[in-house]
């Protein structure tokens, strides 16, 4: 039986880990390599790592950091941040990253999905959409850490991404980021209707119950969380955590 995937999502800024709220006010959490080691011990399903500096500052991905992360990791990793070309994707892939997340570059040039897929295999090309509710209904895709509205309809783009050969879609809800009050279930339903690709949802997990709700409804799905797996308690003390095998077994029932 294929399991749902429960995925810690880590944000990198200036070589350190940060956690944001609504994509803003990154708070320093710790050292990325150390976090990877702890998540190894906890036997997590998969790890997502997004460099939130690279695209905004228009700099190359930090290859040496990516390599150190990949070498340490005993779990599959999805890396995103600043990937704009086939060459960059291939280089990251060769460092030992299984899944390459693309966002702003494919919004302006969706064909890049196919071009990178032809080289590294479509199953490893992950489309990440940062999505925000529109004032008068509906949703819109944003880029550059939620600063740039793109006018793109996420549901249409998901369909197009599948046609172009993407391997997975990650939906990141800006309004829910860091708030820890549950997922936008309506958004998830709407994305699920539009594609048969695996999807991973991110934004809003405040408890294991929130994760369970998504899995109960959608069964095989990736459920990612940032705050939930790096903070503990109501004062948000930094403490890396992850459900045990026994806790996860409840989700599979």
């Amino acid at each position: 039986m294929l399991r749902p995937r429960i995925i810690p999502s880590l944000l990198i800024q200036e070589n350190g880990l940060v956690k944001t709220v609504n994509f803003k006010n990154g708070k320093y959490i710790g050292d990325p390599i150390n976090a990877v080691r702890i998540f190894n011990e906890k036997e997590v399903d998969e790890l997502a790592i997004f460099d939130i500096d690279a695209t905004v500052k228009n700099i190359e991905p930090n290859y040496s950091l990516i390599e150190r992360i990949a070498n340490q990791s005993r779990m599959p990793i999805c890396y995103g941040g600043g990937v704009k070309t086939v060459e960059q994707a291939q280089r990251i892939f060769s460092l030992g990253i299984e899944k390459i997340a693309l966002s702003s570059a494919i919004l302006s040039n969706p064909r890049l999905i196919t071009e990178i897929g032809d080289r590294v295999g479509g199953q490893s090309v992950i489309v990440v959409l940062d999505v925000k509710k529109k004032m008068f209904g509906g949703y819109e895709v944003y880029s550059h850490n939620g600063k740039k509205a793109t006018g793109i309809n996420p549901f249409q783009f998901v369909e197009e991404a599948q046609k172009l050969g993407a391997g997975e879609v990650v939906i990141n809800a800006i309004d829910q980021d860091g708030v820890m009050k549950g997922f936008d279930m309506n958004l998830i339903d709407k994305v699920r209707e539009r594609t048969t690709l695996p999807i991973t949802v991110l934004g809003g997990a405040g408890s294991l119950d929130d994760i369970k709700k998504v899995i109960d409804k959608h069964r095989i799905i990736g459920v990612a969380a940032g705050s939930l797996f790096v903070y503990k308690g109501k004062y948000k003390a930094v403490l890396i955590n992850y459900p045990s095998k026994e806790e996860k077994a409840i989700f599979y029932k």
Partner: protein
Amino acid sequence: MITIIDYGVGNINAFVNVYKRMDMPVVIARNQGELKGASKLILPGVGHFDHAMQQLNNSRMRNVLDQLVLENKIPVIGICVGMQMMANSSEEGKEKGLGWINATVKKFEESKIHQVPRLPHMGWNDVKPIKASRLFTGLEKEAIFYFLHSYYFECQHLEDILAYTEYGDEFAAAVQHDNVYGIQFHPEKSHSYGEKLLNNFAKL
């Protein structure tokens, strides 16, 4: 010595690190000369079948590899696309495979997968050994591994199948013919289960 074939495709260091943790020495081979002294071979692989085959063909290691595997009969394990490369051909591309196991690589039929998501087959799934093999010692029950693929390995000879995984139909998650082993999942990214399997391979 366990020798990992580095032909520019796949995560060599992930394997090196797993064996380092187990205090087992490994060698990385990037050319013919570095293959000398190999007593076991690991053929990693990720990405597109044609790209992987072209890279291996260009590495100039093909002749020595064929000799080590087919004549000297040292144990070799292909991983993910590395496994698929051991077949005769793949529906994913036009290049010829290594032909070390009589098999072809096919794309999963989406119509047989009665759920959403369909493809790729992504995530942790059960691997059920169907015969006794030292590769699966200690992994006979309840072992799960990480998969990421849309193509699967179809053996011409069913007796080559070591373990099944269910996705739509059952497919060969692990195969063996003589000294040639192949696994579709990623042991280097499958925590303690993967470590156990790589340890078992080292001890064959």
